[in-house]
Symmetry: C2
Subunit: 406 residues, 2 copies
Amino acid sequence: MKIAVLGGDGFVGWPTCLHLSAQGHEVHIVDNLSRRWIDTELGVQSLTPMDSIQERTRIWHQETGHRIRFHLIDIARDYDVFKHWLIEHRPDAVIHFAEQRAAPYSMKSDRHKNYTVNNNVNATHNLLNALVETDIDAHLVHLGTMGVYGYSTIGAAIPEGYLPVGIETLSGETVSQDILYPANPGSIYHMTKCLDQLLFQFYAKNDGLRITDLHQGIVWGTHTDQTRRHAQLINRFDYDGDYGTVLNRFLIQAAIGYPLTVHGTGGQTRAFIHIQDSVRCIEIALKNGPSRGDKVKIFNQMTETHRVRDLAEMIAKMTGSEIAYLPNPRKEAPENELIVKNEQFLALGLNPTTLAEGLLSEVVDVAKKFAYRVDRSRVPAVSAWTKDIAPTLNRDPEGKKLKSVS
Amino acid sequence: MKIAVLGGDGFVGWPTCLHLSAQGHEVHIVDNLSRRWIDTELGVQSLTPMDSIQERTRIWHQETGHRIRFHLIDIARDYDVFKHWLIEHRPDAVIHFAEQRAAPYSMKSDRHKNYTVNNNVNATHNLLNALVETDIDAHLVHLGTMGVYGYSTIGAAIPEGYLPVGIETLSGETVSQDILYPANPGSIYHMTKCLDQLLFQFYAKNDGLRITDLHQGIVWGTHTDQTRRHAQLINRFDYDGDYGTVLNRFLIQAAIGYPLTVHGTGGQTRAFIHIQDSVRCIEIALKNGPSRGDKVKIFNQMTETHRVRDLAEMIAKMTGSEIAYLPNPRKEAPENELIVKNEQFLALGLNPTTLAEGLLSEVVDVAKKFAYRVDRSRVPAVSAWTKDIAPTLNRDPEGKKLKSVS
Ligand SMILES: NC(=O)c1ccc[n+]([C@@H]2O[C@H](COP(=O)([O-])OP(=O)(O)OC[C@H]3O[C@@H](n4cnc5c(N)ncnc54)[C@H](O)[C@@H]3O)[C@@H](O)[C@H]2O)c1
Ligand SMILES: NC(=O)c1ccc[n+]([C@@H]2O[C@H](COP(=O)([O-])OP(=O)(O)OC[C@H]3O[C@@H](n4cnc5c(N)ncnc54)[C@H](O)[C@@H]3O)[C@@H](O)[C@H]2O)c1
């Protein structure tokens, strides 16, 4: 199969490309390398020493004989270039990772809010628009987020995408409609994924596009079977306050002897999935696409849920770290339960890697191994959700005030 | 009150500005005049001879002594310019009309789809973003559309914005949540209004913005008490296949002796409101805004519903025109019932002008009066919703084939 991987230079995109290439698919990465530019903007870098995309694909070819081609295109800004690329390559499937994906980055300033909305809405809409225009019947697999299910804060089990709702008709009977689970996003970033959902719904209905949307939990872990094959195939590992997800930041804090910083009470329950499982889910989703005329197929791509404070305790126990409770930069419910349905992937053969099994290797093989590369001033989360929250944050980079808190 | 009217040069915006100015408010129009540019692009013009915005405001001042100021700003493209304008003027209220509002135009080509998404999403998001950034606690009144209620095709009574939905929590009890009425838009244009809704919901929740969204039906009628005061204050009247709404196109067809072109069976039921009532609703909404921290206030801004074929018959009876049934360029249910709740405006004093009362004056005072200005080749609807539909459309501008159909 010829597969276009939009955003294939990113954290989930890169191991996905290797996984699909190893299976013999013809993989084309389309990426504008904006994520590398954002590293430059923020003055941060991946914990793991990450090569250029050109170098990485060269090594992959040298190690395996497989070719992954790279195409530098901004799919949000260069509609015409991208459309002509599609006409030339006519992929059988398109995997769409190409969005700004950090909630804190999306809330950093008005400029970052605008960038996130623009980049993500246009990336998705340009893609849909171009598929219709070029008459390419490719299966589109998009990475959404668990964050579209905002009402999870009321403690309901989260279905896979759709909620059956009874609507009373004029004749008095109640008709059941499967509606998109009501959106209630918690950040500009998450909101863009809710906008994406409506775009998908429209294009599936109006133009018969075949679309799968994967509502993914927080991805953890660094290595997959393929990235392990050569030091220069290593995946990126973000630990900064904007792009580092909660688990990565705990790992790094543990590795450098900094207290694990829990926001608020740490009662927020989040959903997780290991990078190896994420890559495998994408492979499964690719093979099980909807037919023309079907509604958008939605999977929940996660394997377990944890409260943030429980995660901190798990890592503290493993590493002997302290835990510090800090004000929450996010505007969100302090505590929430979360039960997520993920029967579809389990039924299709997913066999999850659990945190309990995989965490120690992350501590030793990744966080401790590369701890010498950490810039400790970049670990705290400094992007506030509102102007009222901003002054309450402890931005002390050296953690002096922190220590007294813990 | 100091009121910024974004899109104040448009069909609904202009009479709104006059109405509010006549009541003594300080009115500022912010418009990029893109609608006039689109007339140029399409080679069409308003049926009514419409002056420049500078000339119109000059006449208004001459007639009434009131000043309406005009500011040429593209709020979708020039975020910084607009933000600085807000800082300088600090309005008490902002009325947001500034979007590309024609469904057929939004479906014309890939370029038009992209333009509509970009212009509308960015106009709305830039406004919200800038209000937060500048800390201006203005009441934002936005014009939405009845088209956000896509599931109306199943024949349900449409509530004002929210649908109570029972969600089962983990403890087994069912909690009722008022969700945004599930979106199921029928065109790219309508979809952008669904995206707007999510943007509003987020900014009301996260930043406490005070927002009212008015889901408006098709606006008909040309004159209001204020536009009647001087020939050069006249409102625009669109009759072309892209911007002319169904009623305006019937009126023009009747005036030039062309058959009234009904798409499909004409069984589509649509909601309507007279321009004088629309302007009055906006005044009422302005006075009855939500408080900081409230959810978005949503009104249905319409006064009556009609099937398209019944409208055609009403006008045929009045004018002696024939009716021609043509293939529908839209992808939509051929027949739908529609009952819309609009108790809120009625309770606040709206006293509707009915089609039965007002239609004759539109035929005589507007359509017949200005019929000499009609370009008959511009009346047919030529924008197809899908590539499959396009070849089925009868684009014969002279209506020769048409006549044989009727
Ligand atoms: N990492 C997670 O924990 C996680 C969780 C849930 C969902 N997701 C989703 O999965 C997808 C991939 O996430 P990730 O962690 O790999 O993110 P990432 O930032 O590492 O990768 C995204 C890639 O897309 C590229 N990109 C962005 N905008 C582009 C544009 N306009 N044109 C071309 N390329 C563009 C970037 O350069 C980057 O290489 C995202 O859509 C994200 O929202 C990720
Ligand atoms: N006319 C109707 O029947 C109807 C029905 C339902 C809803 N609405 C909504 O009411 C609003 C006004 O409708 P209308 O019929 O007056 O439309 P219109 O096209 O006549 O007016 C819109 C105005 O906004 C301006 N504009 C567009 N993009 C802009 C931008 N980026 N920056 C600054 N100005 C911009 C245009 O130049 C134009 O003057 C629209 O949002 C429309 O969706 C209209």
